[in-house]
C-alpha cells in the first residue's frame, strides 16, 4: 500500500509536468505542422526565470515567479515565431527541424550568458514545502500541487478548444488548414497566437518543476526527448492524446525505476516503438494528409 501510494503520486506528478509541456508542443504541431526543437528552451527559460525572481527566498514571490517564468517563455516564443518560424511554414520538415535546432543552440548559449553555466536550486513556498500524510504515507505537498496544476491546465485547454473562437480556429487549423485560410481568418495572427500559447505552456511547465529539480544548462535537451515521445505516442495535435501519452510515460518511468531499474531508461523508447508500429500517427492522432 505504501509503495502503491508513492507510485501513484510519482506517476501523476511526472505525468502532470510532461502533459503541460507536451500540450504546448502538440498544439503547435497540430495547428502549424511545425516540429519545434526549441520547445525545450522555453521550458528551461521558464525555470531559470523562476530562479531569478525568487533569488534564494520563497514566499509570496513564488506565485509571481511561476507566472513570470511562463510569461518570459511566451515572449521568447513570440520573438522566435516572428523572426524564424514564420518563414518555415511551407518548408520541408527537415528544414524546420534544422532551423528550430539552431534556435535551441542559440537559446542555450544566450541562457548561459544570462544565468551562468552552473546549476541553481529554488525552494517552494513554506505552505507547499513539507509533506502531507496520505493513508499513512508522507507525500510532498508540492507534488500534489503539480498534479493539481496539470489538471487545471488540462481543463483550461479543453474549455478553450471547445468554447472559444480561438480554440475553434485552432481545431480547424489542425483538422483542415485549407478551409481556415479560405474562410477569411488572419492565418498569420492565429499561428503566432498558437506558437505563443505553446511557448507559454512550456515555460509554465519549467516554472512548475523548478523547485523539484536542479536547474542547469542541458535541461532543455533532456526534457525535449521525453516530451517528443509523449506527443508522438499521444498523436500530434491532440491534447487528450498528450494527456494519455504523459500518463503512460509517467507510469513507465515510475514502475520502470521500481521493477526494471537498469532497463528503466530504455522503457519509454520501447513503448514509443510499439505504439508507432501499431498506430504510426499516435493513439489519438490523425494520419497526415
Amino acid at each position: 500500500m505504501h509503495a502503491v501510494i508513492l507510485d501513484v503520486a510519482g506517476t501523476l506528478s511526472a505525468a502532470a509536468n510532461l502533459f503541460v509541456v507536451a500540450a504546448g508542443l502538440t498544439l503547435v504541431f497540430g495547428a502549424m505542422r511545425i516540429i519545434n526543437m526549441a520547445h525545450g528552451s522555453f521550458y528551461m527559460y521558464g525555470a531559470f526565470t523562476v530562479t531569478t525572481v525568487l533569488g534564494v527566498s520563497a514566499g509570496w514571490r513564488f506565485w509571481v515567479a511561476l507566472l513570470a517564468g511562463a510569461a518570459v517563455a511566451a515572449v521568447a516564443g513570440l520573438t522566435v515565431e516572428v523572426t524564424v518560424i514564420r518563414r518555415l511554414y511551407d518548408a520541408e520538415h527537415l528544414t524546420q527541424l534544422l532551423a528550430t535546432y539552431a534556435v535551441l543552440l542559440i537559446f542555450a548559449d544566450v541562457g548561459q550568458r544570462i544565468w551562468g553555466s552552473g546549476y541553481r536550486a529554488v525552494t517552494p513556498p513554506a505552505v507547499l514545502a513539507s509533506g502531507i500524510s496520505v493513508a499513512g504515507v508522507q507525500v510532498p505537498r508540492y507534488e500534489l500541487f503539480v498534479i493539481g496544476v496539470g489538471v487545471l491546465v488540462g481543463l483550461a485547454l479543453w474549455v478553450m478548444l471547445a468554447r472559444t473562437r480561438f480554440g475553434w480556429l485552432l481545431r480547424a487549423a489542425v483538422e483542415d488548414p485549407e478551409s481556415v485560410a479560405t474562410g477569411g481568418t488572419n492565418l498569420a495572427r492565429l499561428r503566432t497566437g498558437v506558437f505563443v500559447l505553446g511557448a507559454f505552456l512550456a515555460g509554465l511547465g519549467g516554472s512548475l518543476t523548478a523547485p523539484l529539480q536542479s536547474i542547469a544548462p542541458g535541461m532543455d535537451a533532456s526534457i525535449i526527448v521525453s516530451v517528443f515521445i509523449v506527443v508522438t505516442i499521444g498523436g500530434l495535435g491532440s491534447v487528450a492524446g498528450a494527456a494519455i501519452g504523459a500518463l503512460l510515460i509517467g507510469l513507465a518511468q515510475t514502475l520502470g525505476a521500481e521493477f526494471f531499474a537498469s532497463w528503466a531508461a530504455s522503457l519509454i523508447y520501447l513503448i514509443m516503438i510499439v505504439v508507432l508500429a501499431i498506430r504510426p500517427w499516435g493513439l489519438l492522432g490523425v494520419p497526415e494528409r
Binding site: 508513492l6 553555466s117 546549476y119 536550486a121 523539484l212 529539480q213 542547469a216 542541458g218 531499474a261
Partner: protein, 426 residues
C-alpha cells in the same frame, strides 16, 4: 551558353583551393608563434573538465585550485625559471569533448602537464591521449579504480582515494555505527548512483566492503539515474517504495543537492540513514536544509583534516574567490604540487623524467607529506567520514560536520595491495 558553362568550373575550383592554402599557411604561422612563446619563458598546463551543467561546481572548483597553485608557483619564480600558464576547456562531462579538448591542448597549446576532469568516463578518454602523446596527467577529482588499474599508463597519477577506497571507508564507518548499536541489522540497503563507470564502481565497492566487514544487509533497491539528470522523481519514488533503512548515494554536486531537496518532504531523512558525498559546496547550497545526522564521506575536507597547510590554503582561497574551498580545490592544488615536485627533482619538463621522479616519492604538500605509491601511482592518502552538523558553523554560515564525528580511514586499511592493482593493470 555552353561555352560559358565550361569556363565556370575552373573559377569554382580555384577559389576554395586558394582559401584552403591560405588557412594552412595561417595555421602554420600561429603554431610556430606559440612554440616560440613556449621557449621564451612560459610553459602551459591544461585542464579539460566539466564547467557547465549540474556538476559544474566540481570542475570550476578544481580549476580554481589549479589556478591558485600555479599563481603561487609563479609568485615564487615559476618552475625551472619559466612562468606557468593555465589553459582550460569545458568537457561537458562528455568523453568525446574531453578528448578533443585534450588533443587541442597537447597539439596546439603544447601543454607539459594535464590536470584531471570530474567525470571518470572523461578521465579515461583523456588518460588514453595523455599516454599516447606522453604528457603527465594528474587526476584530482575523477577516481574510478580502472584509471590506475586496467587503463593505467606511466604518465597518469591519482591524487584521490579511488572507488574501492572511498566506499570502503564509508562501509567501515557504518560498521562502527552498527557495532555501537546505532544502526539496526540486517540493513535494508538502497543504492542511488549516477549511471556510469564511477557510480557503478562506487556502489559495487560499497557492497563488496559490506561483505568484507561482514555487515548483514539485504539489497532492496538499486537506482541508476543518468549523470546530470535534472528530473529524478521516478527513481526517487522507486527507492522510497522499497523502504530502505540505509541508502548509499554516489551522486555529487547539483545532483546530490536535488536528491536531498526532493527526498526531504517525503520524510526520507527521518527514517533512513544516508551515506553520501555531502561536501563543502553541497552543504553551502543546502544551508539549513542540509540533512543533520546524515553520514558524509569526503576526500579532503579542509575543516576536518587538521592540517595547518590546508587551513591557510582555505583562508587564501576564501579571500580570493569569496567561497570556502571544496574538496576538489584542495586536491587540485595538491596535484599541482605533486607535478611541480616532479619537475624540480628531475630538472626537466619531460614527461618520462617527471613521472619517474614522482613515482615512489614522498612529496610535501598543503595537506602534509604524501607518498605516491610506485606500483599504481596512487597517493597514499586517507578518506574522511563524518556526520552533518545540525547547526550552522559560525565560521562559514552553513553546517559542516558535527564536532567529534570526524573519522579518518587510513590508507593501509582501505587500499588494495600492489599485487591486486598490478593484476588489474594487465
Amino acid at each position: 551558353m555552353s561555352n560559358r558553362q565550361s569556363a565556370r568550373p575552373r573559377h569554382w575550383v580555384l577559389a576554395p583551393v586558394a582559401a584552403a592554402a591560405a588557412c594552412a599557411l595561417l595555421a602554420a604561422c600561429s603554431t610556430s608563434s606559440a612554440s616560440s612563446a613556449s621557449s621564451g619563458g612560459t610553459v602551459t598546463v591544461g585542464e579539460s573538465t566539466v564547467l557547465s551543467g549540474s556538476i559544474a561546481e566540481l570542475g570550476q572548483s578544481g580549476l580554481q585550485g589549479v589556478q591558485l597553485a600555479v599563481a603561487d608557483l609563479n609568485a615564487h619564480g615559476g618552475l625551472l625559471g619559466k612562468k606557468i600558464k593555465v589553459v582550460s576547456a569545458d568537457s561537458q562531462a562528455t568523453p568525446a569533448t574531453g578528448a578533443a579538448n585534450v588533443k587541442n591542448m597537447i597539439l596546439q597549446d603544447h601543454v607539459v602537464a594535464l590536470f584531471g576532469p570530474v567525470s571518470s568516463a572523461v578521465a579515461a578518454a583523456e588518460e588514453q591521449l595523455a599516454g599516447q602523446y606522453k604528457v603527465p596527467i594528474f587526476f584530482h577529482t575523477s577516481n574510478d579504480i580502472s584509471l590506475m588499474g586496467s587503463s593505467f599508463n606511466p604518465y597518469a597519477f591519482q591524487v584521490v582515494p579511488n572507488t574501492d577506497m572511498e566506499p570502503r571507508a564509508a562501509a567501515l564507518y557504518l560498521d562502527n555505527e552498527v557495532k555501537a548499536g546505532k544502526i539496526k541489522t540486517p540493513i535494508a540497503l538502497g543504492t542511488f548512483a549516477p549511471n556510469y563507470s564511477f557510480g557503478q564502481d562506487s556502489v559495487a565497492g560499497f557492497i563488496q566492503a559490506l561483505k568484507y566487514y561482514q555487515v548483514p544487509y539485504k539489497l532492496v533497491s538499486q537506482q541508476w539515474p543518468s549523470l546530470e539528470a535534472t528530473d529524478i522523481s521516478s527513481n526517487l519514488s522507486a527507492l522510497l517504495a522499497a523502504k530502505p533503512s540505509v541508502v548509499y548515494n554516489a551522486q555529487f554536486g547539483g545532483d546530490l543537492v536535488t536528491f536531498v531537496k526532493q527526498a526531504a518532504p517525503f520524510g526520507f531523512f527521518k527514517k533512513t540513514t544516508m551515506l553520501s558525498m555531502l561536501n563543502t559546496a553541497e552543504l553551502a547550497t543546502l544551508g539549513s536544509s542540509a540533512p543533520a545526522g546524515s553520514i558524509a564521506f569526503d576526500r579532503a575536507p579542509w575543516f576536518a583534516m587538521n592540517e595547518p597547510g590546508v587551513t591557510s590554503f582555505a583562508t587564501e582561497y576564501h579571500a580570493k574567490y569569496h567561497q570556502w574551498p571544496d574538496t576538489w580545490a584542495v586536491l587540485a592544488y595538491t596535484s599541482v604540487q605533486v607535478w611541480a615536485y616532479g619537475v624540480k627533482h628531475s630538472g626537466s619538463f619531460d614527461a618520462t623524467k617527471v613521472s619517474a621522479a614522482i613515482a615512489g616519492a614522498s612529496i610535501p604538500t598543503i595537506r602534509g607529506t604524501i607518498t605516491i605509491r610506485a606500483c599504481d601511482h596512487q597517493a597514499e592518502i586517507p578518506e574522511y567520514v563524518g556526520t552533518v552538523a545540525a547547526a550552522a558553523s559560525p565560521q562559514t554560515g552553513f553546517p559542516l560536520w558535527a564536532a567529534g564525528s570526524g573519522f579518518t580511514a587510513p590508507f593501509s586499511k582501505i587500499a588494495l595491495s600492489c599485487a591486486q592493482m598490478k593484476a588489474m593493470q594487465k
